[in-house]
């Protein structure tokens, strides 16, 4: 119960959305151009692409979020049902995006918002438009599937990650907004009641050792990226202290005597978890 209480400070289901509206929005999102922008390359495995619906430039390809007073982009102007839905929340948006996550794609363990300077509270909301059961958000040592049909909330300042393990494509609208009365009203009944939550097990020393051995074998055969990915994916399988997967990669390269790669991953851990 304590774990769920902690988790409810990181993620929550806000409320159900009208199915007909959601269907219209989904159709609009599925007909947007294929050439979505790729941003945050260092945070992902590849396969994460976005187009902006709200930002300060109005350009849908401008996808690196920052504090701003956002306006509707030229893309949102062509999506009437989506525009109506986003307006209906009455939120003060900082950014809003359509995000496509392809099969076998991961946003690796990371923290967000630490680069933002505005002192107002920031919040992230998700509207799943197309999803499958292999899609998951992991935060607070738990795996949550953001099911279609609802509006979801996430506090991404905690170490978290998202994946679409086996596909097909996942399509979400992701909105970053500022905390205000409209946000408080919208999220008044938010919670995790009835939400299937998988509390991840802690790995035993033996399990971690076996994963490390496998990664060393992969890297030793020249499969460096596969070795790294095999360890990064453990974040979605086990509850571990922040940054453990990065430490394991460092250990892998230290065992192989590859100090250059070990140092690069130690530095990457600092970037991903905002430790600098």
């Amino acid at each position: 119960m304590k774990a769920l209480s902690v988790l409810s400070e990181q993620v929550g289901r806000i409320r159900a959305l009208d199915p007909y509206t959601l269907d219209l929005v989904g159709r609009e999102a599925l007909t947007v151009p294929e050439n979505l922008a790729t941003e945050y390359g260092e945070y992902q495995s590849g396969g994460w692409k976005t187009l902006s619906l709200y930002n300060d430039s109005g350009d849908p390809m401008d996808a690196t979020i920052r504090d701003c007073e956002a306006k509707e982009t030229t893309l949102l102007e062509r999506m009437p049902a989506t525009r109506e839905l986003l307006r209906s929340f009455g939120l003060r948006y900082m950014w809003a995006r359509i995000a496509r996550l392809q099969p076998n794609s991961f946003l690796w363990e990371h923290k967000d918002y630490h680069e933002l300077t505005d002192e107002r509270q920031h919040h992230r909301l998700h509207i799943p438009l197309v999803t499958n059961r292999s899609c998951a958000l992991v935060t607070g040592g738990a795996r949550v599937h953001m099911a279609h049909g609802h509006l979801w909330w996430l506090m991404p300042t905690h170490a978290h990650g998202a994946c679409n393990l086996t596909g097909p494509d996942r399509l979400h609208i992701i909105m970053d907004c500022y905390g205000d009365e409209a946000f408080e009203a919208l999220t008044a009944d938010m919670g995790l009641d009835g939400v299937p939550v998988d509390l991840l097990p802690e790995p035993s020393k033996k399990e971690l050792s076996e994963h490390l051995d496998l990664a060393v074998m992969l890297a030793g055969m020249g499969y460096h990226e596969a070795a790294e990915h095999s360890l990064l994916r453990l974040f979605y399988r086990y509850a571990m202290p922040d940054g453990t997967v990065y430490d394991l990669i460092v250990s892998t390269y230290q065992r192989l005597g590859d100090e250059e790669r070990a140092e690069a991953w130690a530095a990457k851990k600092n970037v991903m978890l905002c430790l600098d």
Partner: protein, 296 residues
Amino acid sequence: MTATLVLDPPGAGHPTALACLDRVAAALGTSPEVHALHAVPPPADPRHDGEALLLVAVRGDRLGDFCSVLDTLVQSEVGAVLPGWRDRSVPDALESVHLVPQDDHLVRLRVRAVPAGTPAAEPPAGSRTLLDRAAEGGAPADTPEDDLLPALLAAEHRRDRDPAELLTETLVRLHTVHADARAGRSLEAYGGFTLLCTALRELLRASLIAGAGPVPHAEPYAAGWAGFDATLALTPIGRRCRGELHALVAAGPPADTPALAHAVELVLRTAGHAAPAVVAGLAGPVDSYRRYLHLD
């Protein structure tokens, strides 16, 4: 990796399988221990849509290591929908099967790992060479002093197969059976269907029967089924499994999408009675499997 194209691709009418093979070859060919990669045409005819076979010649003394990392490699770098399983019905070869999404379709990828420099590493007629390090100026593969393949095959046949691997085999075989039945290859579908039912039977044996021991790999005809009705009838869970299995056998190979959806349900219900944790653990991949097959 630099691909050396030697021959025209087999089955050129199946771009999905070919695109999948190229992607897999790019992932597996990263290692200098992999000497050659050959795309092998389907054995019977080009109607085997959605299937691809890759022959991987690995430096002899690293063959065991390669087999140890292969499933992780395919899941991580290629994005297999389900874990791989070893097809023990293939004699004299270590051949694993992986279900890989490609352009919103599922491709059954077969990977046959052999020691480089041995006769088994010779590309079969009609193969397409995707990687050949010797042809690129690398040293030709030495004939290994000790051929590890017999020992690895023996170890594979001694290994206990767990219910998760057997459920995966069942679902992948169902994919094959459906393709055959839909294309009117009813006899091939029947043959595949018996292998499917056998895999499901072994899942029940491994999950429900204490001390069932390793799954036999070369039983006499029907030996594994003798007395199985009575064995399942001993317990309430066994009787539920028997009911589902009877329904699956009575329905036969699924030739259309509703029949396939029904067969998937029966397989999952059977497995769910016997090994609920396994079915729950594969919930995400199984949901993906259904969606790629448009069963949702």
